[in-house]
Amino acid sequence: MQPTAEQRRWMYRNMVLSRYLEERIEALYMEGKTPVFNMAKGPIPGEMHLSNGQEPCAVGVCAHLEAGDIVTATHRPHHIAVAKGVDLDAMVAEIFGKATGLSGGRGGHMHLFDAAVNFSCSGIIGEGLGPAVGAALSRKLQGKPGVAVAFMGEGAANQGAFHEALNLAAVWQLPVVFVIEDNAWGISVAKQASTAVPRNDARASAYGMPGHHVADNDVEGVYAAAGEAIARAREGLGPSLIEIETVRLAGHFMGDGEDYRPKGEKEGLTDPIPRYRGTLLEAGVLDEAGDAALVAEAHARVEAAIRFAQDSDFLPPEAALTTVFV
């Protein structure tokens, strides 16, 4: 399956948008946290897991999705949220904890919920898999179209929820796609120290479902594998598993010194964005001027969202008590 020129530009644009968002968040996150790094300080407190390098996973999959399709993401959700079309203003405002945020600041960066595009994420490893299966079941029971995609890291593939969710989706032949972003690390634990098989797509056979592997963080490889899996799901042929070799260019979270990474390993990683830019330029899908315009537009979009967030107020503190029950 080959993306059209427009899809290729869409994927590239969302990669650029996502990355610039992360860069700006990174800078804003560090405000108030120097000289002494204290997570509680600054305009964006708390943990912060950036997605730099993992953009191909998000765009290659979401290129096939519509607003009505469901995505569950992880503690590292920004790239996926961007690609799924989560409202950027409300998302950034949520990351700042503001009243105009997706949930008025109750959730923050690990708990982004946008019902308009059926996006959610969570902070517990493997937690999004069951809900994706259930959303797919809901569509089947309602006779409504829609595919559910559950994203996870390669570390999550060793959590019990992975096994249970894949089995359940397969037994019930539900329209779900499980996507593993293999960035080779779960915090400080390398994949080979945590996972008994070199590649998790091998585990698909334990559920009688197709397994796909995408090497080298290849945007269009993701596009092709996801296209096949999602089409299969839409046709009612059941779930698939995809593992994507990707890279974690930032640390596990902001403040991670990454001393545990072997010397030189990180330096050897390729940034997928300049590479894909090169591909598109070479293919004539993009020219320098078009690229510059696209980048400028992405930056403007992000800056506008940040201004929106910064200009917004916090909810009154007592709002903490509301929306527990509805």
Partner: protein, 343 residues
């Protein structure tokens, strides 16, 4: 639909009352469906889905693999997508394999979304011992669920409340944990507390979640309990009556929200409080009830409150040990006598 007159005299077990409430909601609301282990052709190990598979078929009454994390998580996903799942955790004792899906996901997604994502689902689960099923199949764990925010928790003591609470739970836009005690189910093979099988109207109705019931009025002491403990309390009240004391019995029915007003009003009247709970003694329901009364500035107790709860031990298999450890009417009466002797 039959008339109220006819139905008013019809007695049901809690198991049947739960199944009837579920069936009635399923008939009027296509979003309602049921998932869990052995809820299909078997009708639920505790009978509360009996007949549903025949009427609604395997799509809406779904047997699951032994994968509680996945299917409870799936219920959350389905509920967030517009369905209204009723899902069963066969024994509450199994919560340990799937509590994340319950307390971090089901209970919190609405809050995390600022109220925009509703999770209208019911988690039914059986509680309680007394029939020698040992330490992994006899627990109540009321306190465990009630302690964690974001989910309503109800515990019926009789079939009327069970039907009304189940209907209310299914119609609630929030997740509701519906904890039913095995000894009250009316399944012969678990013994049966006769008082739980009561007249149940045929037509659908709701019992408000968050309202305690005064199961018996009295003046001298307030006995607060839930589930099977309500029946122990009623028996104790009868025994005390024979001695000339008048005990009020409060059936909590709902742990979350907790009806502290009804509690406090009763204790304000009687001046004495005994809490009866089959869950573990410490850090649970009994402590919360006593504290809720004691911390109320208006409350003047005539004696130190007491609790008759399950000791802080795993539940033993041998019937001699288990029965010795369980709350019962005699222990309630003894607690009252001791209270009198102390004050």
């Amino acid at each position: 639909m039959t008339t109220t007159t006819k139905s008013a005299s019809r007695k049901l077990t809690i198991a049947r009352a739960m199944a009837e409430a579920t069936a009635q909601e399923m008939r009027i609301d296509p979003r309602v469906f049921v998932m869990g282990e052995d809820v299909g052709p078997l009708g639920g190990v505790f009978g509360n889905t009996r007949g549903l598979h025949d009427e609604f078929g395997p799509e809406r009454i779904r047997d699951t693999p032994i994968s509680e994390t996945a299917f409870i998580g799936a219920a959350v996903g389905a509920a967030s997508d517009g369905m209204r799942p009723v899902v069963e955790l066969m024994f509450v004792d199994f919560f340990g394999v799937c509590m994340d899906a319950i307390y971090n996901l089901m209970a919190k997604n609405t809050y995390f979304s600022g109220g925009k994502v509703k999770v209208p689902m019911v988690l039914m689960t059986s509680t309680g011992g007394g029939y020698s099923d040992a330490g992994q199949h006899s627990q109540c764990l009321y306190g465990t669920f009630a302690h964690l925010p974001g989910m309503k928790v109800v515990v019926p003591s009789n079939a009327y409340d069970a039907k009304g609470l189940m209907t209310a739970a299914i119609r609630d836009d929030n997740p509701v944990v519906f904890m039913y005690h095995k000894a009250l189910q009316g399944m012969g093979w678990l013994g049966t507390e006769k008082g739980a099988t009561v007249a149940v109207p045929e037509e659908a109705y709701t019992v408000e979640i968050g309202k305690a019931a005064v199961a018996r009025e009295g003046r001298d002491v307030t006995l607060v309990s839930l589930g099977v403990g309500v029946h122990h309390s009623l028996r104790a009240a009868q025994a005390l009556e024979a001695e000339g004391f008048s005990a009020e019995v409060i059936d909590l029915r709902s742990l979350v929200p907790l009806d502290r007003e009804t509690l406090r009003a009763s204790v304000a009247k009687t001046g004495r409080l005994i809490v009866i709970d089959e869950d573990y003694h410490s850090y649970g329901v009994s402590g919360e009830i006593i504290a809720s009364v004691a911390e109320h500035p208006g409350c003047r107790l005539r004696a130190a409150p007491k609790r008759v709860a399950y000791p802080d031990i795993p539940i033993p298999f041998a019937p001699t040990m288990e029965q010795w450890a369980l709350p019962n009417a005699d222990k309630i009466v003894a607690a009252f006598h001791q209270m009198l002797s102390e004050s």
